[in-house]
Assembly symmetry: C2
Homo-oligomer: 250 residues x 2
């Protein structure tokens, strides 16, 4: 049985995308239990992943490993989550947007009062894909030396879990709060906007991915509630309707 | 070549006492390099330790592994160190004295400006021995869940190294400072006091270990400079001289 001591931490899901090594998955389980976390999801783990190694490294955290959920896509693994945070040490469009785990911890804990919160970790060889990163509302950059930036997968889980555990001990829930919209609904809204913005010629299929990352970034600066998303969905629908009136190019 | 970027971090020595698993030693090397540390010392590593596993887990931090120093006793591994911090999640005489790595980080960095600083980690099965703990001027307790307190060895190294790295980025050296006395000189002083206090009947061989831990604790509350230690050494010598005048029991 996994002890339930800190409900807010129980609502935080560690999502390992396409992991290779059982030893890392097991080490991540132990790190999670050390730091009061319990929800583990694996997305499309490699078929050759060594589960015996995982159990050995999980040590007394075997229940977290046994109770893992497995998904074939990242979108499914985070569908019910409000905040979705992605870990990355690379640059790119989202770079300025990334914060340290210490900085994000209070916001993740607050969001976890209302709905599950996901933290995504990419595979040992490639990290998170652009598609995975697109699902994220937050980006986490673990401080590390320029001489060797890339942490082992389980170590990255430990640093994030440790910061959440330390923050949870001094965390006081705010009186008034607005809940994040679930990922699945948010994704439906972004898909609608994507079609609408293509239809009105704001972007082309070539530039769409890049533009949509920019729009996602703007819309994840603050909380995005279900009501917000309904409004944005309505705007996109109306935009698409307007686009249907654009005369075809000769 | 190990990059030298942050001199204060280069002066911090990770000391693994009697480690069992090569994988953990290698993982610790990677964690160290991720967090800008470079000095690894092993005390009495198990002969069966798997060095191939160590190299695999060290990944791009193989130079730290290759440049490790090996000692047969903990006292030798820390002889030139000022502050000596021991990690433990157990209770005992020193419990009130233990602080989190976040709390200690600034003091360790300050001490590392003047002389090497050691952080001791015990073996995977038994942790640090009482003899090892006696050498410590500071105790580190990593926050962890009551449900599963004990971190994997390399994970414990990561959490401490991470806190030092994060603290080092905002660390400003104080203008005025007094250097810690080296461990070897401090130990000679404590040995002298032990004999003196036995000679004057302040303690018996049965209670000596316990009493000396208490005295060590008092004397490590603040900095202990070479001059301080010379004074304490003189007091002990004089006490012993006085004891030589106690008439033998009839």
């Amino acid at each position: 049985m996994i002890p339930r001591q800190m409900p807010v931490l129980d609502n935080i899901r560690i999502v390992l995308v396409n992991p290779i090594y059982g030893g890392n998955v097991g080490s991540a389980c132990r790190a999670m239990m050390n730091m009061g976390l319990s929800q583990l999801a694996l997305v499309n783990p490699r078929p050759e992943m060594n589960l015996l190694e995982a159990a050995t490294m999980a040590c007394h955290a075997g229940d977290i490993l046994a109770n893992r959920t497995v998904y074939s896509t990242t979108a499914e693994a985070v569908a019910d989550c409000g905040l979705v945070a992605g870990t990355s040490n690379r640059g790119g469009l989202y770079r300025d947007h990334a914060q340290t785990p210490r900085k994000w911890a209070p916001r993740l804990l607050e969001a976890a009062l209302d709905s599950p919160v996901a933290i995504l970790f990419g595979s040992e060889d490639n990290g998170l894909s652009l598609d995975d990163l697109a699902l994220c509302t937050q980006f986490i950059r673990i401080p590390s030396s320029e001489a060797y930036k890339s942490l082992n997968l389980a170590m990255a889980v430990m640093v994030c879990a440790y910061e959440l555990f330390v923050a949870a001990e001094v965390f006081e829930p705010p009186q008034e709060r607005s809940a994040e919209c679930p990922s699945s609904m948010r994704e439906a809204m972004f898909a609608k906007w994507r079609r609408a913005l293509l239809d009105i010629g704001f972007m082309t299929p070539d530039t769409a991915d890049h533009m949509m990352l920019g729009i996602r970034r703007i819309l994840s600066r603050g909380t995005l509630t279900e009501k917000d998303v309904q409004i944005l969905l309505g705007m996109a629908a109306q935009t698409q309707w307007a686009a249907s009136h654009i005369p075809p190019k000769p």
